[in-house]
């Protein structure tokens, strides 16, 4: 299969790589760009474990072709911590015991980050809707919902 060039920004860093034509963004990130934070779950668009942010919008990297992201800005969970300090969402997930096996966590965090980027003070219903495309088989969701609300409160306090 022919390899094609792709060029985009990944977590703030310019990346230019050759990938197989038609490869998904998920596999380009994991296999070529050493970012294994998006998880290969169902690869059917159902579980949300592969969720990333492309140009500010939540997308499923398992159903997005890398070639269609030319010039885009891509954010993954691997880029959230800065200089060893966890992002408030990551901190809230840890503090709230909102991860058990952890497989869904990177996708869940990206879904929550998209919400907080657009709606800094979400309601509980907003959070439920925001993570409605992400499946967690461990936690029963409640700790995750509380963690996202906690991160939002933490952000608000810092902003205030």
């Amino acid at each position: 299969m022919a390899r094609v060039p792709v060029h985009f920004t990944l977590n703030g860093q310019e990346r230019a790589e050759f990938v197989e034509s038609g490869v998904t963004l998920l596999h380009a990130l994991r296999d070529t760009m050493d970012d294994t934070s998006p998880k290969a779950g169902c690869q059917q668009g159902t579980c949300g474990a592969c969720s990333v942010i492309v140009d500010g919008e939540l997308r499923l990297s398992c159903l997005t072709l890398a070639e269609t992201c030319e010039g885009a800005s891509i954010e993954t969970a691997a880029g959230l911590a800065t200089e060893g300090v966890l992002h408030p969402l990551q901190r809230a997930i840890v503090d709230g015991f909102a991860a058990q096996c952890g497989f869904c966590t990177p996708g869940m965090i990206m879904a929550a980050k998209t919400l907080l980027d657009h709606t800094p003070n979400p309601t509980r219903e907003d959070v439920i809707e925001a993570i409605s495309g992400n499946i967690c088989r461990c936690t029963g969701y409640e700790p995750i919902i509380q963690a996202v609300l906690s991160a939002a409160r933490s952000n608000s306090q810092k902003a205030g």
Binding site: G22, T24, G45, R59, L63, T64, L65, T68, A111
Partner: protein, 266 residues
């Protein structure tokens, strides 16, 4: 599995490129890439178009023309399409709505394709590179690619907010796969009696279908329990529901009248 991607700036060129067997048009990826990931070996390559017209929404004199690449999220972001918002919001979670397109939804097999149920009730027209067709005709032959070319847009009368009655029944909250989806565009006269009706059903066949018998039975009746009884009794006429892990065909047939009644009375 990796497949070659051909990208065209012109819809016409993309339409020509998609003619060979095995080549599939790539919209948002939620159907075609999913099929490839699942191991569908009949797909041998992708064609896509970056034509801006595919991504525009034009609303003129109460009629909307929605490009085939317009996403559910873009529908939800357009205040003039508020009457379609409950329908667009029924499609997937936020990530899917950022990717799933109006054009792609026309091809979604049951239990998917909820947006198309709304389009069918709203009497949309499908505009393809090889001509235009009423949505009901389009759906009947939607896999005949040689006949219709690539879908460019759909057009429809814009329903006012709340005018298009819509109900999607899922077992998973807040978002889940449909057990049954119902849309009804009803016009009432001054006495509150139904003067025209288009009722569309999802999951009651392999693709969205109309409930013609129920439509006829509603004409001339008010939307009260006593007067909708016949329409509710015949709403399942002509259906051939799917069986999947969400529900059996029997179950779908049993619950359809219940939810149709609620839609009419709600």
């Amino acid at each position: 599995m990796s497949l070659a991607v051909q990208t065209y700036s012109s819809v016409r060129d993309a339409s020509n490129a998609v003619k060979p067997d095995g080549i599939r048009y790539l919209g948002g990826g939620t159907l075609v890439v999913r099929a490839v990931n699942e191991g569908d070996l009949s797909i041998t390559g992708y064609v896509r178009s970056t034509a801006p017209t595919l991504q525009t929404i034009d609303i003129t004199d109460g009629r909307a023309t929605i490009g085939a690449s317009v996403t559910m999220a873009a529908i939800l972001a357009n205040a003039e399409l508020a009457g379609l918002h409950p329908v667009a919001k029924a499609v997937g979670g936020p990530a899917v709505r950022n990717m799933a397109t109006v054009g792609g939804n026309l091809f979604a097999p049951a239990p998917y394709g909820d947006f198309t149920v709304g389009l069918l009730a709203q009497d949309a027209t499908v505009h393809s590179t090889d001509g235009d067709a009423p949505i009901e005709d389009f759906l009947a032959g939607r896999h005949d690619r040689g006949k219709r070319g690539i879908v460019k847009a759909v057009s429809l009368g814009v329903p006012s907010d709340g005018a298009l009655r819509f109900l999607k029944i899922s077992r998973v909250k807040p978002r889940g796969v449909s057990v049954v989806t119902i849309a009804a565009a009803l016009a009432l006269d001054d006495a509150g009696k139904v003067k025209s009706a288009r009722v569309a059903l999802g999951c009651m066949a392999d693709r969205p279908i109309r409930a013609h018998a129920a439509e006829q039975a509603l004409i001339g009746h008010k939307l009260v329990k006593e007067e909708i009884r016949e329409a509710v009794a015949v709403v399942g006429e002509g259906t051939n529901p799917i069986t999947d892990p969400v529900a059996s065909a029997w179950y779908r047939s049993e619950v359809l009248p219940v939810h149709f009644s609620r839609l009419l009375l709600g």
